[in-house]
Amino acid sequence: MTYDITVTAKDGQTQTFSVELSRAKDSDKLICRVNGEEFNPGLDSQNPERDVLSVLVGSRSYEIHRDGSNGEMQIQVGGTRYTVEVRDPRSLKARRAKAGATDGPKKISAPMPGKVVRIISPAGTEVEAGQGVIVIEAMKMQNELKSPKKGIVKKIMVAEGATVNAGDALAIIE
């Protein structure tokens, strides 16, 4: 199977890899090609615990953790986390989704569960990128959610006082 995988590091580095995986015939190893080149002859990957891989690349040992919650996947190598997006390129949907990802209206989602304490920019307001739209509160801290782009607040989907979950759509900027 082949996967297109985009990895984003916290320092902003982003790289997309085409990873081809299959099972070796006479062993329990994997055959792995990255961007068409053999990654490691006989890649030895084990899954000792849920969300944990132990991967030997040659003799180099990597313990890798996955956090697949909250609608995004993060992969931790050593102490460092990377955000990854996995696409099976055979899937038409995935390709379509990719094509459309940069256009159109942008959503503001709740980055955490909390209470909506204030609507700064009601529907119809013109906003700059980075301008505050909604304030939510959790754990005694108030957090201002900012517009991801210059535009007009098309819709506010929550009312002041409402409780929201992480990932809930709160507003749409057009």
Partner: protein
Amino acid sequence: MFKKILIANRGEIAVRIIRACRELGIASVAVYSDVDRNALHVRKADEAYAIGPAAARESYLNLEKILAVAKKSGADAVHPGYGFLSENAAFAEACDKAGVKFIGPTAAAMNIMGSKTSARRAMEAAGVPFVPGSSKGLTLDEAASVSEKVGYPVMLKAAAGGGGKGMRLVASAAELKSAYEGASSEAARAFNSGEVYIEKYIDRPRHIEVQVFGDEHGNVVYLGERECSVQRRHQKVIEEAPSPIVDAEMRSKMGATAVQVAKAAGYTNAGTVEFLVDAQKNFYFLEMNTRLQVEHPVTELVTGLDLVHLQIQVAAGKKLPFKQEDVVLRGHAIECRIYAEDPDNNFFPSPGKITRLMTPSGPGIREDSGVYEGWNVPLDYDPMLSKLIAYAPTREMAIGRMLRALDEYFVAGIKTNLALFRKILRDADFCAARIDTGYLERLLSARSKTLPSSADDLKIAAVAAAIFAMNGSGTNGAAAAKNGTQSSANENGAWKKTARQEALR
């Protein structure tokens, strides 16, 4: 000795006190709000009582409810932990009236220290060194004249406050009026008192505090100091003991001053005297915290003592089992406060379900945690999950050890500040102990916000993601098929759902 102790708190400190009770053969009573029925402290206590809704005012801060549980359960003492009711003199007094021992100082001592201005008056009388400034609440006109006298820049501070609320730095006389009004109204909202006072501003001060302990027989000792200069928005982030800049002579001077402070207030049980220290190592009394501190473990590790056991023994009327000269510091300890917050996203809090939790252990590592895998961190309280503490013979080894432990730590489902600690502990200034209370804010605003990532690791992350995807999609790599250690069907389902969401974005 007490037979049963009610712990009027939640989270890691409640668990820590329950553990002490169990070790001493004392029954423990937990209280919990509606969102905390499954909290670790409820699971670990011998008894547990519901005390109402999530909002702290209606549960953990409600002294009538807590006292009712004390009565009902037959507890003969109450440990307040830190936060919540721990520095509430009215609560200490109510416990006293109800015949339940409050494990902490007397209400009288708390009252003296509870207001910064009254603390200052008492301490000035006792000859304790202070940052130049006013010793009482000021009108705007008084503030202007005091500021002229001590010289700008000055700090405006709320008399009743803490945690940075109602504080303003004033660089010149022109800024004073608006700063005064801002600080005063913020203080009024936060503490029901708009009283503010003024202190000379000290550039790049260190925050160093001294642990003191008094019994009920007039003995007061100090247990060395803690360096707490690594702060963000006036909240401590990393604490260590001893302070890298305090030598034996300075320690005994600060210690003697701290004991003097405690004695002036008739202080008993555990307390902390906070000092500001300037570049010339002059130290100035800041305030006294009349409770056990979050960061007490670093003192425990370098003194070999157990402060919660001591608190209980002293509250039960026992004498301190050692003298000042028996207290010897050894080695170095560092504490990281693990929070549910996202350092990459302006430190947004991150409550929610912990879907995976792997914690470090081994030599020199202590973890005082209040959470577990599967626990849903509620959005109603402080975001501290756990305290990770490393001990080693030297500061350098303790830093190496903490970095090792941080690499073993993994939390999924919610964001944590683990990566922040990796960054601080690798920072050259931190390693050289060039820290002050502004250090962390400067580090955070520096251009290079994260450690550079290696191209190799990016590739490994991609390969690992592909393997996880393959394992999850049923066509199974060698890995999952072998050893029967494949992820459960359930979990794969969740992952597939996530993968779909990813694709649809």
